[in-house]
Assembly symmetry: C2
Homo-oligomer: 242 residues x 2
């Protein structure tokens, strides 16, 4: 299968590594030194332009940035005769828009860490043509409803962010009583073994990335504005205080 | 060890069952038919009054109801020369008050299901005298700070209630998109295997007991009123809508 990559940051670099037995191609066109270095390391075929990449791919992975996702689709979608897969953290609304520019568009979401264990969630048409990907990494075809993969990622993100907010509040209380370890122990009784490490890393991660997480929560509230998401609004309040 | 029971509902009944190799006693005094039945089934020693139970116990378990907890302590605490253990779901403030009426007071919290697997959390003085209990069920001595066991239970309850509120909100969204199963799957990726069943049973449980849970949340907010518990307040809002 000829697989093209637009963007060669962390995500596409890792996918190229996993898919190395396929026929891979990308371009240096307009790329940064860092990205060109990534491409050289990957030892995959390089063509002169992304237009050429798009034309010659059975599957095209777009993984640049949420902001560029739509521009990439507008510019190269029309040249892509194969399946156009967007891997950026886009909202379901953006996925909708992208689908207007790429005929065989598949909305994808990477859930988990790209360099650890992740599952590639897919939604859209022609998902059967992507079955072969599961030879290389876990893939889950969710539905033919384009946008479901992005929606799922948004909802999961409500969960992880709200949980982090809850722990921030709880730790403020439990630290004062010197009962944080005991609290985590009692919750672990029902929540499984790795839970403690997870809870703590979520709080640290949220503190370290509060600005971005706040923006993400705002987007989530905007997207799900028809729902009365009190916990998510409270999560936003907690993040705003950081 | 002579162990006395005041109250013989679900909690003390189960403890008597687990502690059957010890020297157990209780009384029918003022008990309901149902409770007398429980006591008969347990085949333990019955004396004529709770005063006599209190006088003759090395350890006295009080497990009636949160409302009666203080009255029981006021009435029988003074006759108890052994350790007085309160097993009711009382607030740390009530634990404080009880300690004025029982000299050797130990604040206890059962975490988990009394009829499944639970751990008995203990805080207060003389906890070493209760070490033998761990021959019969898991016991955790938290600290010598009376009230820590109740506080821990309150904090854990913030977690379980907030989580339930988050899931109620999330399911409202994910049901609409027919993505609830997939959402739980993606969260399970990081949260462990039994997580799905746990999340669902929490929501059902919260819906079935919303009034009680709302009252508990109000108590929690009252007790931790010096903290800015936005998520807990939002949880209360969610429960108020049920």
């Amino acid at each position: 299968m000829r697989i093209g990559f637009i963007g060669f940051g962390e995500v596409n670099k890792r996918l190229a590594e996993l898919l190395k037995d396929e026929d891979l191609l990308t371009s240096y066109e307009g790329r940064s030194d860092k990205t060109i270095e990534n491409i050289k390391d990957a030892k995959i075929k390089v063509v002169s332009s992304f237009k050429e990449v798009a034309i010659n791919s059975d599957i095209l992975f777009s993984a640049t940035s949420p902001k560029q996702a739509l521009i990439v689709a507008k510019t190269y979608g029309k040249y892509c005769n194969g399946i156009f897969i967007d891997l950026n953290n886009i909202s379901p609304d953006t996925a909708d828009e992208i689908s207007r520019f790429a005929d065989n568009f598949v909305d994808a979401a990477i859930i988990g860490g790209i360099n650890n264990s992740f599952t590639l969630y897919l939604s859209g048409q022609n998902l059967d043509k992507l079955n072969f990907l599961s030879n290389y990494f876990p893939v889950k075809a969710i539905s033919n409803n384009m946008g479901d993969a992005s929606r799922l990622k948004l909802m999961r993100s409500i969960y992880t962010k709200s949980i982090a907010a809850i722990f921030m509040e709880l730790f403020a209380v439990s630290d004062d009583f010197d009962l944080t370890e005991e609290l985590l122990d009692t919750i672990s009784l029902s929540e499984g073994r790795e839970f403690k490490a997870l809870a703590q890393s979520r709080v640290i991660n949220t503190r370290n990335n509060s600005k971005r997480k706040k923006e993400e929560i705002l987007e989530i509230l905007q997207y799900f504005k028809d729902y009365d998401l009190k916990m998510v609004e409270a999560t936003l309040d907690v993040l705003s205080d950081l």
